[in-house]
């Protein structure tokens, strides 16, 4: 996956290198700017079994800051924020690969270096008994739950 581009970033940023689950790395540039979750909306995406994005809705595109063409085909880790512990995603993948639902609070990284919090649910898409991909639906989280997640993830990092 491509490193983030300084020309896309709004304001001051810090640089970090993420170790991704497939053994690759990505240089990310992050700011402290939070984008509020859009009222009443759901952010929806689907991936193939390898975690590459195959579909996303308008809210996904708007919140990510990318163009749809920049998103389709990319690994879901495109949104991975360095404040999220690797263990959370390990748990996600272990859960859905076992055919179960996963849910949790996630801090996502935007193209402009900012972030947004979501309450995410990921489920395997089963067709004729086979897992053919995964659907992820994010909704607006409660602020209290986000504060709790911040504490928990800080202690896991």
């Amino acid at each position: 996956m491509q490193d983030m581009n300084p020309s896309d970033i709004q304001g001051e940023y810090r640089e970090t290198t993420l170790d991704l689950y497939n053994g690759t790395q990505r240089k990310v540039l992050v700011t402290d700017m939070e984008t509020p979750y859009p009222e009443g909306k759901l952010i929806v995406s689907r991936t193939d079994t390898e975690g590459r994005i195959t579909h996303c809705n308008r809210s996904f595109v708007d919140m990510s800051g990318y163009e749809e063409a920049e998103i389709i085909g990319q690994p879901h880790a495109l949104l991975r924020h360095p404040d999220m512990p690797a263990a959370a995603f390990e748990d996600l993948w272990n859960t859905v690969k076992a055919g179960r639902k996963w849910h949790g609070y996630v801090k996502n990284l935007r193209k402009d270096g900012g972030y947004y919090w979501v309450y995410a649910t990921v489920i395997p898409n089963v067709r004729n008994g086979q897992v053919v991909g995964y659907t992820s639906v994010r909704r607006k989280p409660s602020r209290q739950k986000v504060e709790e997640a911040i504490q928990t993830y800080a202690s896991m990092s």
């Binding site: 649910t121 992820s136 602020r143 739950k145």
Partner: protein, 247 residues
């Protein structure tokens, strides 16, 4: 024996007239006898479904999941009207955003499972759930509005379309806090196993409905602009979405 057609019980008597006419259209298009049966409540309808007494149904998304995955129904088409949810309070309520709602609040709602589920999702940012709120089940969306106006309930869940149809007098006494904007979840017309092989034929006829004056009048009476054919994968996607939301 005629086939049985039914619609989700979330429609008021004014709309049922349109569905009766739709049933006549359906019989003519499929060249077979079809009996239109209505149910007063979701539980009653589910009982008929589980006893395999339904062959054609205009189902809400929650029931569509069960019908497709458990009962072998196939999706034919959906209208261009996504199901959205409106959360409203009494117009004089000082609350202006969902986050200000407090545990213990009384929620007037119908027994429509989709709207109840979406309503509770929209209340999550206030840390409200079924354990710290009280559900007051009403027979119709008019009754939900009444419960708010009479201050028997603090919050009301409405199908957005039903909220929009309330009279201006009623709406002036209410205040919407949030509307869902999901776009991809809608009611669906489904065929049971006995008619499943006629799916493509019916989908084509539904799609062509808006091409003639009579068809357009029927669509108007149902409150639809047109029918949108639905393929298997679109239906499966909607079911996945409902399943994820129900988590």
């Amino acid at each position: 024996m005629p086939y049985q057609f039914t619609v989700s019980p979330d429609f008021g008597p004014d709309q049922l007239a349109g569905w009766h006419i739709f049933n006549t259209w359906l019989q003519r298009q499929l060249g077979t006898d079809i009996h239109f049966e209505t149910h007063d409540a979701f539980d009653e309808q589910r009982q008929s479904i589980s006893e395999d007494q339904i062959d054609i149904i205009y189902a809400n998304p929650f029931d569509a999941s069960f019908l497709v995955r458990e009962k072998g129904f196939v999706a034919v088409a959906s209208p261009h009207n996504p199901d959205e949810t409106t959360i409203a309070v009494h117009a004089d309520n000082p609350v202006t955003e969902v986050e200000a709602l407090q545990p213990g609040c009384r929620i007037a709602q119908t027994d429509d499972p989709d709207i109840s589920m979406m309503g509770m999702i929209l209340l999550e940012p206030a840390n409200l759930d079924r354990d710290n709120t009280e559900a007051l089940i009403q027979d119709s969306y008019i009754q939900v509005a009444k419960a708010l106006i009479q201050e028997k309930a603090d919050v009301g869940f409405f199908l957005t379309e039903a909220y929009e149809r309330l009279s201006n007098l009623v709406k002036s006494q209410l205040k919407p806090l949030v509307n869902s904007d999901i776009q991809v979840v809608s009611h669906t017309l489904l065929l049971g196993p006995a008619l499943a092989e006629r799916k493509d034929e019916l989908a084509g006829k539904l799609q062509a409905m808006s091409d003639d004056v009579q068809g357009q009048q029927l669509l108007d009476s149902l409150g639809f602009r047109s029918w949108n054919p639905m393929d298997e994968e679109e239906m499966e996607f909607m079911i996945d979405l409902i399943e994820a939301l129900a988590a």
